[in-house]
């Protein structure tokens, strides 16, 4: 028996970064906004204060910070000839759950994509000719210039620390000269760099590269954002990614928006309620609300004029599939769009071991690092290379949490006295240079519903079919060589490369940058949502998150996810509510 609840103007499904942004924006116009979150309420003092936050076993290894795989996970296979099996515990990526979502446990590396990233197809084809075989790369349908004010807004919301390299077209020494023109300097100065960054910077400069401080959502100094919310200075404790910040110094929905949003009378938040599906009217072209279930198994129908999916990319895509909105992509025929262009991130790196220098990496922060962007996107000439795209190369000192981090030189056994000795000798005297590579969409990589395995409510799990493509491998091999060049010049005794080899492995942690599945684009035949993140099929449904990326750039996604959310919120406020209906004519 489904209980029908009083209608609201807007229902948000999921309450992380995009949910908080949309709620804050849409409540400004007096709309009644309800957010439904499947996890619980979470806040700094009551859930991850300084008294308990620095607990490696509990939050990461016992996964208390993340979605419970027991309730809902996904199945995985490298290609369509294999049988997908469930990810029984999280490994390669860590979907968030609870208020704030992944915005609670991110590192805070807050990038803008390059102008050419939004034109990945037209730009690359224009410069290098046809795409490599199998790539299904396409343009976003929105440009960097259109998103710039929204990037700026998010950076000011979060108090991002950094150094502009391109201010209104003028190149500034010490910043990233390759970035798109920005309308304003970062709201905070860069983080305080440590020994490893100084060595990286010197090595990169020797190679003629242009190092700059990584843009950081860990506060380099106290910050009050435009809403009046306070973010305290980062203490460099080294517990950012996979952990909640105990002392208000990492930008999250909790630190930047909730103090203001939660006090608004026209906003409410339902926790521990999971949306099962979007309800459509008989024509299938209009959403009438959502069906959700509470912890006691009671089902409710929540009517709403506007439904906005604000959950994680994997959940948004799955909810579209479970609600029967759009056609699920079929790689055999190339038909269908939901689940298409699933992309990830192609990571590789090199550990650097010093003899007499201590990196002391427990003094760290999630976005404390120096980077070079010389080999990202199309910042370098790809002529004669067998790939498109690239990635940034960086030396982040994010942490030295000992269960997670035992760097040992090449040839060290994985246990016994020799292992123990190598760990003890190198623990304080090593660092890492990493390449954060793009992931280009490929016809064979996709998401759909698993035919066998189900979640706690009996709904099919999402099935992921993914492997690194020839483009990914060529790009990563190229980037890893560039990593080697820098790492070898940092003055260490030796380095150990970890190139991206073999098939994609779903277990070792890589990054939680899953993208695609509800991609945006220029017309209904190439995309699930239009340039305003509005569903082509159901005009009162919008889809947020990295699922709309047609392919993933060589950067962390949060900055772009948030900029797109602000961009969509503006379109909803300025256009949609004045005249509900499709914002782009098909």
């Amino acid at each position: 028996m489904v209980r029908k609840l009083p209608p609201v103007d807007v229902v948000l499904v999921g309450f992380g970064w995009t949910g908080a942004i949309l709620a804050q924006e849409l409540t400004e116009d007096g709309l009644d906004v309800l957010a439904i979150e499947r996890g619980g309420w979470r806040d700094t003092p009551s859930h991850f204060p300084t008294t308990v936050a620095q607990d490696e076993l509990r939050w990461y290894w016992r996964k208390e910070m993340f979605q419970s795989a027991a309730r809902d996970t996904l199945t995985f296979r490298n290609n369509g000839s294999q049988t997908a099996l469930p990810m029984r515990r999280w490994g390669s990526f860590l979907p968030g759950e609870g208020v704030g979502g992944g915005g609670v446990h991110w590192n805070g590396q807050t990038w803008r994509f390059l102008p050419s990233d939004f034109l990945a197809a037209s730009h690359n084809i224009g410069r290098y000719g046809p795409m490599p075989e199998g790539l299904t790369v396409q343009d976003y349908g929105v440009t960097y210039g259109e998103l710039e004010p929204h990037y700026d807004r998010f950076e000011k919301l979060c108090g991002i620390g950094g150094k502009a390299g391109n201010l209104n077209g003028e190149i500034h020494e010490g910043g990233n000269p390759f970035e798109g023109p920005r309308s304003a300097e970062y709201p905070s100065p860069p983080m305080h760099m440590t020994f490893a960054q100084h060595r990286f910077e010197a090595a990169a400069k020797e190679l003629g590269l242009k190092p700059f401080p990584g843009p950081s959502a860990n506060m380099s100094q106290p910050y009050v954002n435009p809403l009046g919310c306070q973010l305290a200075p980062c203490t460099y404790c080294g517990f950012c990614e996979k952990y909640g910040c105990g002392n208000y110094s990492k930008a999250s929905p909790q630190t930047t928006i909730l103090p203001v949003l939660m006090s608004k009378p026209n906003f409410s938040l339902k926790v521990h309620n999971e949306v099962l599906r979007i309800k459509l009217d008989s024509t299938g072209s209009r959403a009438t609300g959502v069906i959700h279930v509470d912890q006691n198994g009671e089902e409710y129908e929540q009517p709403a004029d506007l439904v906005i999916l604000c959950a994680y990319q994997l959940s948004n895509t799955r909810l579209m599939m479970l609600s029967g909105i759009g056609e699920i992509y079929n790689p055999a025929t190339g038909e269908g769009l939901v689940g298409k262009n699933y992309c990830y991130q192609v990571m590789s790196g090199a550990d650097v071991f010093f003899d007499d220098k201590y990196t002391n990496e427990f003094v760290g922060a999630g976005a404390l690092g120096m980077c070079v962007d010389d080999y990202n996107g199309d910042n370098f000439d790809h002529s004669g290379l067998d790939f498109i795209g690239g990635g940034y190369i960086s030396c982040w000192t994010t942490h030295n949490r000992p269960i997670e981090r035992q760097r040992t030189p090449e040839g060290t056994p994985t246990w016994g006295s020799a292992w123990k000795k190598a760990v003890a000798e190198n623990y304080l005297k090593s660092t890492n240079v990493g390449a954060h590579g793009a992931s280009m969409a490929h016809a064979g990589n996709h998401l759909d519903l698993d035919p066998t395995y189900t979640d706690v409510y009996g709904r099919p799990l999402m099935r992921m079919t993914f492997d690194f493509t020839p483009n990914d491998r060529a790009m990563s091999a190229f980037l890893t060589e560039r990593v080697r060049e820098i790492a070898e010049r940092m003055g260490g005794r030796e380095i150990k490369l970890s190139p991206r080899e073999g098939p994609y492995d779903s277990m070792p942690y890589q990054t939680t940058h899953n993208t695609g599945g509800t991609i945006m684009g220029t017309n209904p035949s190439n995309s699930v949502v239009n340039r305003y993140l509005q569903s082509w099929d159901v005009s009162n449904l919008f889809v947020m998150g990295a699922g709309v990326f047609p392919q993933n750039a060589g950067y962390n996604p949060t900055g772009t996810v948030a900029a797109l959310a602000y961009w969509a919120a503006d379109a909803i406020r300025a256009q949609y509510f004045k005249s509900p209906g499709a914002l782009v004519q098909a």
């Binding site: 204060p49 106290p222 306070q230 305290a232 203490t235 404790c237 208000y248 103090p259 203001v260 006090s263």
Partner: protein, 413 residues
């Protein structure tokens, strides 16, 4: 004493005439507005609202050393509120502490202060209260032991400690000073918390605004002149604190956060400044130097501080002004009575969210993490470092407070 007669008369009048209270329609906007402002200056909402329930409907338990007193419903509901009270009834309660039925009100209701409010001000307050939504809500029985539960015993108290007296401006002082004095000593009833009480629960006159204790909190000394608890605060600091809940020295939490939330942040700046001018003119009393804590305790306290507290309060105790309270030079930390310091370590504390500072920055509880000895050591350390002269705290004090808090029914529990 002639009060008995008055009560009898009033009672008779009410019963015979069946007084119909004035309602909003009968009063002009300016009058209601004046009453609304008077209500803000008196923070009526704080005490007369149970946490999470309808404003002004009462039912909040005030913990006193004698037991719990529940506040009444002050909406104009005829059955359970002030609906059948006349203007005169209300004035008598406010000025004399006597209810329409002649019973005496417990001085937890600060009529000793409200007696300083001019008659017109009290009338305006009455008019404003009459406009509030009426809520039907009975007051719970007070949890007072006999003979205190016997209101007649209050007669003696009143005879000893209460002289109704209108506010008399000091002609030697500025108009601003006098306005401040009126707000502090009249409707603001600051002494209610910030003045030590004698055994009967009345203010110790020679300890005026030098700090008090209530509901297991120590309210700090708020005298602003030489040797006063706010000696280091400028007028601007006081204004900032009362309007925004934060200043460079500290943040408001607990009961003071309600005062700011419901009262001072809504006051006009001139009034808040007048309060500051008045407080800055009150000299304090020199305190004897505390005895030197033993070095083993200080070493343990330093270790605990460095490991647990420095992330927010910074290794040198300087805090992050307006974010995390500086402990060096803090009035709360240096307060003679360490109850608040110990309690905050045990339970945590949350800075009041205000219009200017919406983020409720919160210190977590350490009660599960630190033993009595450790809490005492770190409290002693912060009270004796960086120039602080608060003095030592004993593990027994911590244990006793833990026990009292476990039994407590305070607003935050």
């Amino acid at each position: 004493m002639r009060k008995g007669l008055l009560v009898a008369t009033a009672l008779a009048t009410t019963l015979l005439a069946g007084v119909v209270p004035v309602t909003a329609q009968d009063t002009d906007y300016a009058q209601v507005e004046r009453g609304r402002y008077a209500l803000i200056t008196g923070n009526c909402q704080g005490c007369h609202t149970a946490p999470g329930e309808e404003p002004f409907a009462g039912g909040r338990g005030l913990e006193t050393p004698f037991g719990t007193i529940y506040t009444p419903n002050i909406t104009f509901d005829p059955e359970t509120g002030l609906g059948r009270w006349s203007r005169d009834d209300f004035r008598r309660a406010m000025h004399e502490g006597i209810a329409p039925d002649g019973s005496r009100l417990y001085p937890a209701f600060p009529y000793t202060h409200f007696s300083r409010m001019p008659r017109e001000e009290v009338d305006a307050l009455y008019d404003y209260l009459s406009t509030l939504p009426r809520v039907k809500k009975e007051k719970p029985e007070n949890g007072l032991p006999w003979p205190l539960s016997w209101r007649v015993s209050l007669a003696g108290w009143r005879w000893l400690f209460f002289e109704p007296e209108p506010f008399r401006p000091d002609p030697e002082k500025s108009q601003q000073w006098n306005r401040g004095a009126y707000l502090v000593e009249g409707p603001g009833h600051c002494a209610g918390c910030h003045t030590e009480k004698n055994l009967a629960g009345a203010d110790k006159k020679d300890r005026h605004l030098m700090g008090g204790q209530l509901e297991n909190w120590s309210a700090p000394d708020i005298r602003g002149g030489p040797n006063g608890g706010l000696e280091d605060w400028s007028e601007d600091d006081i204004v900032d604190f009362l309007r925004n809940g934060r200043n460079v020295h500290t943040a408001a939490f607990s009961i003071m956060s309600e005062v700011i939330e419901y009262s001072t942040q809504h006051m006009v700046e001139e009034d808040v400044r007048a309060i500051a001018v008045y407080l800055k003119d009150l000299e304090g009393e020199e305190r004897p130097s505390p005895s030197e804590p033993d070095s083993a305790t200080m070493e343990a306290g330093a270790a605990i501080y460095f490991d647990n507290c420095s992330a927010c309060h910074v290794s040198g105790g300087q805090g992050v002004p307006r974010f995390f309270a500086p402990l060096a030079g803090s009035g709360k930390v240096n307060n003679q009575d360490a109850t608040t310091v110990v309690r905050v370590i045990l339970e945590g504390a949350r800075a009041v969210p205000t219009k200017a500072h919406p983020t409720p920055l919160t210190m977590p509880a350490f009660d599960w993490k630190l033993t009595d000895e450790q809490v005492a050591a770190v409290a002693t350390y912060v009270r004796s470092s960086w120039g602080n002269r608060g003095g030592a705290v004993s593990p027994a004090d911590v244990a006793a407070l833990r026990e009292r808090l476990a039994d407590s029914m305070g607003p935050d529990r």
